[in-house]
Amino acid sequence: MSDLLRHAWVIARKDLVIELRSRTAFVSTLVFTVLVLIVFNFGRDPTATAVLDLAPGILCVTYTFAAMLALNRAFQLELENQALEGLLLTPISRRSIYIGKLIANLAFVGLVEAVGLPLFVVFFNVPVGHVLPALAGLIALSTVGFVAVGTLFSAMVIRTRFAELMLPVLQLPFSIPPLVLAVLATAKLFTGRPLEESLGYLKLLAAYDIVFIGLSTLLFPATVDE
């Protein structure tokens, strides 16, 4: 187990160092997040629907699209000079590669979300200060499952001709359950309902995370081996 995590960390750290230096994916994902928020902001009639009714959906959909964009680049790095082939030649477990990519993707998407949340507050004037810890936990729970599935599919489609198109086609159906749960729980938090009312949603999100991290870790070797 320790070798598995040590190798995973080596891969995750490498991905994060490369991202820190190139910054292209982070900047483009962040710009995309801002643009989506702007579109939602100007694409609604403020007199027709209360912002609190729309805000949970807007936040979750924005994060979903941004994460999708971020996941597209997860294995692009490994196509550079066919480094993926090099990884497959090493004696490390294929699962280390998956866990390493998962850690790097979580850090990357988490950072985009952390920067995106204040922008969301500015655009939609939704007060989140009083529910910030609970909201952060909810976002983390929904992000983990989404990224776990997305990392697997990213590896699966990377060697196909239309990888950037295939990823959302494969992933979005799997993302509907956590998306619905996240929207429902966020709505409860935004409307000031007690946290206990959202606990059921949070437990389901946690279960989704556990199941899909487990499944993805098991299935990953089959997606990268010939």
């Binding site: 190798h7 891969i11 490498k14 082939e85 497959l88 090493t90 004696p91 010939e226």
Partner: protein, 226 residues
């Protein structure tokens, strides 16, 4: 010790490997000559475990950890420095922490890359990148080297250095397999010579006292006869 047993593999209707069997003792260097499309790369990838053959088996003492690979791609990350790349790959092969730096620095010096150690791979010329690739393949001190056209992009001095390095490796009891279409480059290193045409070894014998000219003549005859 490397052993290949009745390897067969096809791409569509074309047999890239058609019943290749051989074994290579430690300290021996097998150079495989063949025209484009003969299946040399497929053979090396099959030996490395990157391609699963339709039938047949490969046995390498020490498994994947024992393999050093140079293919058509560098397997280097453009945004990491040359030294960081070497340390990354050494980590995945479980080279002990203190030893990683020592080996990386020694290889960088041997391959004339010491002054490029802290430059990102992105800025290296093709020849320098190939030298970095050689360092990457050797950093975990493999006992079986699988090299596909390894002299590509190297200038005369670098090719000479690399030939000396390979001779040292073979003298230290390691097995080396080189695939090339260039008889001049490969003949000098060979202790065994094989001619591969349309997925088959049409000749496999010890080099003996044959010089490059005699091997070239034998190669022309072998290729012409198939």
């Amino acid at each position: 010790m490397l052993r290949a047993e009745a390897l067969r593999h096809a791409f569509g209707p074309v047999w890239a490997l058609d019943g290749i069997t051989f074994s290579l003792q430690p300290g021996r260097t097998l150079v495989i000559f063949g025209p484009n499309g003969a299946g040399k790369t497929t053979l090396l990838k099959t030996l490395a475990g990157l391609i699963r053959p339709a039938s047949g088996a490969v046995q390498i003492d020490g498994g994947r950890r024992a393999i050093g690979w140079i293919g058509h791609q560098t397997h280097l990350y453009n945004h990491l420095t040359v030294r960081e790349n070497l340390l990354f790959w050494a980590s995945l092969y479980d080279v002990p922490a203190g030893e990683r730096e020592r080996r990386a620095d020694r290889l960088l010096a041997q391959l004339g890359l010491a002054d490029r150690a802290h430059q990102p791979v992105l800025v290296l010329s093709r020849g320098l990148a190939q030298r970095a690739t050689i360092a990457r393949a050797l950093v975990h001190e493999p006992t079986v080297l699988l090299l596909d056209e390894p002299f590509t992009g190297l200038d005369l001095a670098a090719a000479g250095d690399f030939r000396r390095l390979l001779a040292e490796y073979a003298a230290a009891g390691r097995s080396v397999v080189i695939a090339t279409h260039n008889v001049e480059e490969g003949a000098e290193l060979a202790s065994e010579v094989a001619f591969q045409v349309r997925g088959k070894f049409v000749e496999h014998a010890a080099r003996g006292r044959r010089g490059a000219a005699e091997i070239a003549e034998a190669y022309r005859r072998a290729v012409g006869h198939v």
